[in-house]
Amino acid sequence: MKMDNNKKLLMGNEAMGRGLVEAGCTLVSAYPGTPSSEILGAVVASRNAAPAGIHLEWSINEKVAFETALAHSYTGKRAAVIMKQVGLNVAADPFTRSTYLGVKGGFVVVAADDPGPHSSQTEQDTRLFAMFAKAPVFDPSSPAEAREMVAQAFELSEKYELPVILRPTTRICHSRQLISSREPIKLERQADFEKNPGRWVATPAFLTGLHHDLNKKLAAISAEEGLEPVMAIAGHEPDYDHPCLIASGMAFANVFDLLEELDMLDKVDLYQVKIPFPLNKKFCHKIRENYSKILILEETDSVMEMQLAAHHAHGRLSAHVPGQGELTPDIIYAILLDFFALSRPEAETGAPPARGRRPSLCPGCPHRASFFAIKKTFPKGIFPSDIGCYTLGMNLGAVDTCHCMGACISQGAGFYHSYAHDGDDYPSIVVTIGDSTFFHAGIPALINAVIQKARIIVTILDNSTTAMTGQQPTPENGILADGSPGNRVFISDIVKACGVGFLREGDPYDLETFSGLLKEADNFSRTEGGVAVIIARHPCLMDKRNPTKHKRVVMTISSDCVGCGICVNQFECPAIMFDEDEKKASIDHTLCVDCGVCEQVCPTGSISKKEGGK
């Protein structure tokens, strides 16, 4: 038997990207962030199938991405904006007002949550944020469903003139499923912005009225017949004597498989909720009034549970479901055993998963050289850092804080003002921020630090790409999302324009010269008083666009190695191994990329260029 040839094994992110093209969307803006990063790439990949063409952009941050897409919708065309959940915090300002003013062309916000979290600074629930901002939200349980929901979200958005959220989670984004592609719909819309100051300008005088209209729209959506949650198994009729299970998103997929495994699918009433906010009113009433035994499974907060307001229901609020964390099959299994009062089979006491090896900066990563130099130059320094691969500088003891995009510069200034308040003997404060993060939210913080005379060193780690999320271009690259050339904006120009009095650039691979720049910056900051900026420039080795392939320097470690462990512990290169018995370091040449930086790290000169090396 052969599968339908049109079906492809698509990742959830690819499925949603494809869905955006098929739904006739003509503008997609995004800022990369795990787990959402691959969606825009999928739109780029299938953009040629779009009859009307699509404007695609990696915007500078989520707020800008949101506002750009929103105005596109004002002209009557379909638009989408894509981000990870914490990106919606950055876009919170335009988002919360957009529900009051509404939209014209369909407007879909894809905000990908990360219960667990696997790769985020919080595990906040975008559905709860949607409830706060009063935006309808779809919660897909599979990649295929996520693709279907893109079109449904556009239709709902246009019917009610509201922004609609599509909230996949990491497990949807990064799962693959067989999905067949469809022909994109042809909408043939011309941009037509209808001026209406009472709505699009909406001074406070108009807002109570708009808020009233918004409430009416939500009431109408929660009363729509077709949107009422139904039983998960087609043909099943409700049996109010059954235990009732209500689930949405990935928790639904997990509980379905577990009920099948327990042979209980016929013994329960299982409902899937596809729109957890606003939850269908009739459904809430039916559940609350008829079932005596109810279990609610949702990630990552209690959105359905709050709206159902069934005080006898088991859920996160009743503490029958953990109040935090991903609802993995193992967690749900334990919840089900408890809910059905079943005992765990004896054989199932397998060891819980141990902690695996921690991630580290890649061999040859220029950030490693920067961090080593910073830590060595300022052994007593304070090191605020930020979000990206370079957060892994914590392994080298050169990252002391990481908070949210761009926070390191403001936090650095905050540290300075606190220590300076106590006297002149303040520690050197060396901030590290990646190039993409600097563009995203670092610039206002830098201007503020300059104005407030913060004596800090800001090291911009410029590897000329957005490395962590898959090598998206930065504004300095001058490359647009579809690969075509755009205009370039230079970090050094911005730094100067921010009023910074000290700016140097250097390659961190040259540890000695780079350490000299750090000392020079410290001296300036302390004597002249102010922010000193160093741009640490060396391209990411993982970036396929990387134009300057570094010179290969094959290294070897001689028998003179005294086993001090500096190359392993303080430089933390994954390509250097340490033999605990022999007390000697050696190089794993399958991992080593021949960057040659370790030669400058070894205090005994035991690491040197290999004779006759490449």
Binding site: T34, H118, R171, F256, P353, A354, G356, R357
Partner: protein
């Protein structure tokens, strides 16, 4: 048929590619298939895991003690991920040192072939020989479909090296 497979290794070892090859092979055999992958920071050399579920499932995730087979590209991950497998599951381990599960020095053989990154396909070849659920023909087709053209031959050769 229902099969739940885990692929475990360190970021950079080609776990995602191996996952897609096996899922593609399941497709070739006419099975429904879902996978789940690790992306983001963990890919920077940390422990990573992928799941493949072939047959009729709703979720791509695997519960502790339910996996039918595991391919371990790094023996150090055995203690991390072996609990996901059934007690009688099939283990296929890349290890140059003695190991209590069926193993092959896939990295060593890959170096002999001149490319350490091929260890993933050598381990797959070994797993096929030892009874992994998919057919060799299906895996070969999957490799042809998913490899970049210039790597098809080397990838097929690596698979054969593991089968041998």
């Amino acid at each position: 048929m229902k099969q739940q497979i885990i692929i475990s290794g360190m970021g950079g070892q080609g776990i995602l590619f191996l996952t897609r090859i096996i899922a593609g092979a399941a497709m070739e055999m006419g099975l429904e298939v879902m996978t789940s992958e690790t992306h983001g920071m963990a890919q920077r050399g940390g422990s990573v895991i992928s799941f493949i579920k072939a047959g009729s499932f709703h979720s791509p995730l695997i519960r502790q003690g339910r996996g039918n087979a595991g391919l371990f590209l790094h023996s150090r991950n055995l203690e991390v991920h072996q609990g996901l497998l059934k007690p009688d599951a099939d283990f296929f381990v890349n290890s140059s040192a003695p190991c209590r599960y069926p193993h092959i020095d896939a990295t060593g053989l890959a170096e002999e072939l001149g490319s350490p990154v091929l260890a993933n396909l050598i381990l797959l070849g070994y797993a096929l020989k030892q009874g992994l659920f998919c057919s060799r023909e299906a895996v070969k087709n999957s490799i042809k479909n998913l490899s970049r053209e210039q790597f098809v031959e080397a990838n097929l050769a690596a698979l054969e090296r593991g089968v041998k």
